[in-house]
Amino acid sequence: MSFKPNQTVGAATAAAAILSAIVILPAALRAQQAPPAHPVPPPKNGGTVVMLCDGKTSIEIKSLKPGEQPTESQGREVANELMAEWRKEHPDEHWQMAQADAGAKPHADPMSQASKSPPATGQQQGDTYASFTSRDYKVWQAETQKFVDEGKRIFHDWKALGGTIGVSCDMCHPDGANTHPETYPKYQVQLQRVALLRDMIDWCIENPVKGKTLDPNDPKLRALEAYIYAQRKGVPLDYGKH
């Protein structure tokens, strides 16, 4: 009948985990939401500058004027040159071609040795993409939690919501209860159209909260959405449910 979780301990552990994750967070990751940009340096000799996907290594093809299409062999040459450049700068990095790798000794990744769990994904197949360490997971988790926590803060603060009559979301929806995000999109009878969760958040902000609706890209609306979904982890999606 009753349920009594150990809230204090849980919260403290979570806080500690978040703290330790934040300390090791690189500055680039801390910048919220802006996708990474890789500006290409200007050509020095009137050619075309090509950059590697690491966002750092670049070379200039002098024979290729800006706007010209390289031939296939030119392209291949450029790719090889770039790769050679990158390997010169990263002598300790392990890099292998999947086909040429048969029978090669597995390389010891210092990162994945230092952190024992969870096992890094994709490494058996020699992929670099999706080769993540547990540190990566911690960082992502912390970032996500920060986003959700920001939503929680706004959800509980009528001033942050832009409300005008002292009403905040949690007053009717403790722990996000009765927001049923898993049922959207659905035909909202009262609105006489199909609504998304964000439409209903906006509706509540405008009506019971007596504030101004938020733009779909408003960081506050995004954070509120994040918090509400986070409260329903594990509930099966059931769009259109009434």
Partner: protein, 382 residues
């Protein structure tokens, strides 16, 4: 966005209200005639399935002096009404909750016959400021019947009850009424969570006001008051019906939201020797009932907003109220009335605004749900 769109239900209820207002001055006999005619017309037009037409229920719920005079069984020796959980802010900030509180005052003033008294169920104020409490007192002054005050946590934790007690007197007391012993408890004490955290009174109040923050302690009646209760009941015979008013539920429903009374077991033990005990509580803002041993529990509605049902711990005997229509301020809110029967048991009428009233008979709970089952909701919680 389109605030002008109303739900089908809301439109129907508005229509029904208009009809009822027009009918209010008719006597009962012609009222039923008109109702039957209206119902017939509506069904003939195919507007409504016949089983869902509500006006008939309202007619039955209207006061029936004729059958009372004939000495029909089960007529109450007295009735009382309640208003609860108004959560008033200062009038300059929020008119919404004031409107709702006034609506409830209108309701109880319109009761005919008038109730013997009106219980105020606690959480008069939202954040316990003198202005909020005084505004509440002003609104309750409009109630024609005598008002019995009970305190809620939203009234208490700014100044630990100083202003409330100045306005309304001691927070726990008892009195006898037509053969029933009535006890009003102060059941929202909390162990000190604020000193160690160096909270200001405002921070303490805001913490208690939040349901889902997990920081506050759980409600309790507390040892001194349990002693007081024991003494108060010492002289009362076990066949006397007992009516207990408490803001917190006096049982353990859902810990995380403080739908919870930590010393509920001890309080229940004190009440165990009596044959008939009814606990009327506030705080949970929903249709909620429970039976533990000899004790029947009923939760009061709020005028301000409904709480969702908790994800765990809902008493098996509770029939959920229909899911609230968020587009209607008053939906799933309301007030209520209790009919204390000749034998001292209590039938309870949930006066849900914009919906049919729901009656929860004492026999439903005492029979553990075998008889008099209230109607099931069309839409339960998600």
């Amino acid at each position: 966005m389109a605030a002008r769109h109303k739900s089908v239900e809301t439109k129907f209820m508005e229509e029904r209200d208009r009809v009822l207002r027009a009918l209010r001055n008719l006597d009962r006999r012609s009222f039923i005639k008109v109702v039957a005619a209206t119902a017939g017309a509506v069904i003939a037009k195919g507007l409504m399935p016949p089983h869902s037409f509500q006006l008939v229920t309202i007619a039955n719920a209207a006061p029936d002096k004729a059958s009372a005079a004939s000495g029909m069984n089960g007529q109450p020796p007295f009735t009382f009404a309640y208003i609860s959980d108004t959560h008033l802010y200062e009038r300059t900030l929020n008119q919404r909750f004031i409107r709702a509180a006034l609506k409830a005052v209108e309701d109880v003033n319109a009761l005919d016959p008038q109730p013997d008294f009106v219980l105020f169920g606690g959480d008069l104020a939202q954040l316990g400021t003198p202005q909020q409490l005084e505004l509440g007192r002003e609104i309750l002054k409009e109630v024609k019947a005598p008002v019995k005050m009970m305190v809620g946590e939203h009234d208490w934790f700014l100044d630990l009850g100083e202003k409330w007690q100045e306005l309304f007197g001691p927070p726990n007391y008892s009195f006898d009424w037509k053969g029933v012993h009535v006890v009003v408890l102060m059941s929202v004490h909390e162990k000190d969570f604020w000193t160690a955290r160096r909270m200001t009174p405002e921070e303490r109040m805001a913490t208690v006001a939040g349901l889902d923050n997990g920081v506050q302690s759980r409600f309790e009646v507390g040892e001194p008051q349990r002693e007081w209760l024991k003494n108060d009941l010492a002289k009362v015979s076990s066949s006397t019906p007992i009516l207990v008013f408490s803001h917190s539920p006096l049982y353990k429903y859902y810990y995380n939201w403080n739908f919870w009374t930590d010393d509920a077991d001890q309080v229940q033990a004190i009440l165990r020797r009596f044959d008939k005990v009814t606990v009327i509580h506030g705080h949970t803002h929903q249709m909620l009932f429970n039976q533990i041993g000899n004790i029947s529990f009923y939760g009061m509605l709020s005028t301000a907003w409904p709480w969702p049902y908790a994800p765990q711990g809902l008493p098996a005997l509770t029939i959920q109220m229909n899911r609230a229509d968020p587009f209607d301020q008053f939906d799933a809110c309301g007030d209520g009335r209790m009919e204390v029967r000749a034998d001292g048991l209590v039938d309870k009428i949930y006066n849900l605004w914009d919906r049919n009233p729901v009656t929860v008979k004492a026999d439903y709970l005492r029979s553990r749900g075998k008889i008099d089952r209230p109607p099931a909701p069309q839409f339960a919680s998600y």
